[in-house]
């Protein structure tokens, strides 16, 4: 009867775990392995300025429409500043404000994006631009150029190509020369081009952004030209006149307005840095899931802060260690000190690595045992004695760390990660067993603990398993099912086959 409940419960757990797992894997596209990575770029804009005496308000254009890219997240690091994102005429603007600030100020805006072909320029068709008001003698030059180019073109695209060809001519005609007289940057140059296009009633605007490639400590904005042909936006290389867009061109903002607007400060400068990370496909799967509106993502560990994630990626492996523990104890039948002591030791091994972990652990326990036997002569009461052993363990750890540091072995430092209370208890248990049942039993159980710890370490260290459990925590339900089943395992333990070998019937 009870046996049946156990099977039903285990089956239920396994079914729930597996079905959530399949849903997340097949439908939401969570990756099974870690190496399914997508490049994610983080672009950081550092706004640097000297504060003035009064209140400060800084406005920075931030990416709005980014064809070819999808935003993963954005944030601002600006201590003491009020931060908001508003929609201005040129798209989104980040705005920082503070009542007063002293000295040089730096505020950061950070955005992470990944490539997504499906993101299009989803702008509405712009109205025909008004004729720009231009002073003489420039106005005449503009009119001459526009009418000349118009004669040599058929539509917006060919007009632009022809215009760019003329403007970029190494030996320009005098009208072009006149227009370009005050131009000293790419942005000014594109500004002149958009002005010319506006005079021809062609909607055009300057776009600025970066071709994303690898890691750039200081990225320079590239000015590009965007022209609407009445149907969609076309991109032109302002220098060559070629209708194209650089590879992985990430649009930061559009229009002729300056990137940053500062009130109450001076010497404003914006520096861009780009970093390429290979974030696994999980993040992308999550964005997809969020767009679907499923709640699977609300419970995903990837929504936790990075530091907490790191903690959980370790914590989630503890059930694996517990499963190994169950197998070693109830199915193999290895003696070990303490129920979960080997699992905790295995956790410590993660930091020290196996070889040094085993050496440090053995050294620590051996030294601790020696001192415990010396303490025994003092005839201390149990709890004070345990505390004394604990303090000795801490001192020993300190000693090992200092010694190994002196000898230039950095691994010795990681001894501090051993759970000292557990080690103190192990030393105490081991010394009691040593006295009561002799060194052989103590060694056997000590060795058993080490063997189980090593086995747990090996399984808890499997990278793909770690990824799998972290991405699909519901798999823990399957481990729970296995543990429940093992709880009703009434067969022989492996070691019993040896123990009772004299009794085997023929």
């Amino acid at each position: 009867m009870k046996q049946r409940y156990v099977y039903v419960l285990a089956a239920l757990l396994a079914v729930v775990g597996l079905s959530v797992f399949f849903y997340k894997w097949q439908v939401l596209g969570f990756p099974l392995t870690e190496d399914q990575e997508t490049p994610v770029w983080t672009i950081e804009a550092a706004v640097n300025f000297d504060s003035g005496p009064g209140s400060i308000k800084a406005q920075l254009h931030v990416p709005t429409l980014t064809p070819g890219f999808r935003m993963l997240n954005e944030n601002s690091v600006s201590r003491g500043y009020g931060f908001s994102i508003n929609y201005g005429s040129g798209g989104r603007e980040a705005q920082w404000a503070v009542r007063r600030a002293d000295g040089e100020q730096t505020i950061y805006y950070r955005i992470s994006v990944y490539e997504d072909e499906s993101v299009d320029q989803s702008d509405t068709t712009p109205p025909f631009p008004p004729l720009p008001v231009i002073d003489e003698p420039l106005n005449t030059a503009v009119e001459v150029i526009v009418s000349d180019v118009r004669d040599h073109s058929a539509d917006a695209a060919s007009f632009t190509t022809e215009l760019l060809r003329r403007i970029n001519d190494p030996s320009p005609d005098p009208n072009v020369e006149l227009l370009l007289a005050g131009v000293d940057s790419d942005a000014d140059f594109v500004g002149v081009v958009t002005m010319l296009l506006a005079s021809a009633r062609i909607p055009a605007r300057m776009v600025r952004g970066f071709p994303l490639a690898g890691r750039q400590r200081r990225a320079d904005l590239v000015a590009w030209l965007e022209v609407h042909d009445g149907d969609r936006w076309l991109y032109f290389n302002p220098q060559s006149g070629e209708q194209s867009l650089p590879d992985r061109f990430f649009v930061w903002w559009r229009g002729n307005e300056p990137l940053v607007n500062l009130e109450g400060g001076s010497n404003v400068r914006v520096d861009f840095a780009i970093q390429e990370n290979h974030l696994d496909a999980v993040a992308i799967a999550e964005t997809q899931a969020a767009q679907r509106g499923t709640s699977a993502v609300d419970f995903s560990l990837y929504s936790l802060p990075i530091q907490t994630q790191a903690v959980y990626s370790v914590l989630l492996m503890i059930p694996i260690g517990a499963l190994i523990m169950v197998i070693m104890r109830n199915i193999v039948g290895i003696d070990a000190f303490g129920t979960f002591m080997p699992v905790l030791i295995a956790l410590a091994f993660r930091e020290t690595k196996l070889f040094w972990g085993v050496i440090l652990f053995t050294t620590l326990v051996a030294l601790g045992l020696t001192i415990r036997f010396l303490l025994d002569r003092l005839r201390l009461l149990l709890v004070p004695r345990l505390s004394a052993v604990l303090i000795v363990v801490v001192l020993l750890m300190l000693f090992i760390s200092l010694m190994s540091h002196r000898l230039g072995m950095e691994t010795g430092l990681s001894v501090a990660l051993f759970p000292m209370v557990i080690i103190a208890m192990t030393i105490e248990r081991m010394s009691v067993v040593w006295e009561e049942r002799g060194p052989a039993d103590a060694m056997r159980a000590g060795l058993g603990s080490l063997v189980v710890a090593v086995a747990a370490y090996i399984f808890m260290g499997i990278a793909w398993l770690e990824h799998l459990i972290f991405t699909f925590p519901e798999l823990l339900l399957i481990i729970l099912a296995l543990v429940v089943l093992a709880g009703r395992y009434t067969g022989y333990r492996l070691t019993e086959l040896r123990r009772f070998r004299d009794l085997m019937s023929e």
Partner: protein
């Protein structure tokens, strides 16, 4: 490996997992555990049921009382100090005499001398919980030291040999004698190196012995044959063991008895998790006997009747 499992099954050998899951968890309700885990309580219950137990000289329940040790012992030369909630015979001190020259120095069963101060420390450790199952504070018992019956003199090295009977639902299922050796430091626990010898439930005569999971015929220290010894008052021992079921309410029970030269069989302690070595000592599996008991089970039978059933059913066929 599979053949090994099949062979053990064939012999009816009970494994640890099966013992824990199918017998201890099913037949031994948790709430009755204190009755066997606390030896003071066991003693009281056994006395109330009219069973013979070693006299209790005194109990030391907290550190402040440790000083009273001398008063409890008085002028007695022999006594036993043991933790009330000890397991596996750990923490037991058997004192058999005093030093000729100094009255505050005691002689252990091993022949070693121990000062009263050292005994105080040992009692402090017991009270502090060093030997208790859970590590909780414990009590120390000081009780009558059994003068053991000469039956086993030839096959024990110091210490007190005892008789372990495994009782299933009130029916004695299997028994063995546990004989101390030099290695076991006078303690009658198999995992400490004592020799276990199976007992024919029908006659009360010992069978061959087991040492560290291996069958032995001779005692390792004395060289005397282990088999063929007649345990005195066997009927009484079986009946007392069967009565242990009523006293404790436990369905899977180990009853430990000693035979005193003067007072006959005494109940030393009872155990809710008796070990499985008894199977090796008897060269037989518990599962077969348990199955037979299930067939014959009669809820209304008295301890005497149940002991008689076991004697009849589980007599050695030679």
């Amino acid at each position: 490996m599979l053949t090994a499992v099949r062979k053990l099954r064939g012999a009816g050998i009970l494994g640890l997992n099966e013992r824990n899951a199918d017998f201890i968890m099913r037949l031994n309700p948790r709430r009755y555990y204190p009755r066997v885990d606390d030896k003071v309580l066991t003693k009281e219950l056994a006395l109330a049921a009219g069973m013979a137990v070693p006299d209790l000289y005194g109990v030391i329940a907290h550190q402040g009382q440790v000083r009273e040790f001398g008063k409890i012992v008085g002028e007695r030369d022999s006594f036993v100090v043991k933790p009330a909630q000890g397991s596996g015979g750990d923490g037991i001190l058997v004192v058999t005499g005093r030093s000729q020259r100094r009255r505050d120095c005691f002689r252990l069963s091993s022949g070693m001398l121990i000062s009263e101060g050292e005994i105080h420390h040992h009692i402090s450790n017991i009270v502090g919980g060093q030997y208790s199952l859970s590590g909780n504070p414990d009590k120390a018992l000081i009780e009558y030291c059994v003068h053991f019956d000469p039956t086993f003199a030839e096959v024990s090295f110091q210490g007190v040999p005892d008789i372990r009977v495994v009782v299933y639902r009130g029916y004695p299922a299997m028994a063995m004698v546990r004989l101390p050796t030099r290695a076991s430091d006078g303690k009658a626990n198999l995992h400490q190196g004592a020799v276990g010898a199976g007992v024919d439930l029908g006659s009360g005569e010992t069978l061959s012995g087991v040492l560290d999971d291996h069958v032995v015929d001779e005692h390792p220290d004395t060289g005397a044959l282990v088999a063929g010894l007649q345990i005195p008052k066997w009927d009484f021992i079986l009946e007392s063991s069967a009565r242990g079921h009523e006293v404790t309410g436990l369905g899977y029970l180990g009853v430990d008895m000693v035979i005193d030269r003067d007072r006959g069989p005494l109940i030393l302690e009872m155990n809710a998790r008796p070990g499985l070595n008894i199977q090796i000592a008897n060269g037989a599996g518990l599962l077969d006997r348990i199955a037979r008991i299930e067939q014959l089970y009669d809820a209304g039978a008295t301890p005497e009747q149940r002991a008689a059933v076991s004697r009849r059913e589980f007599a050695a066929t030679s």
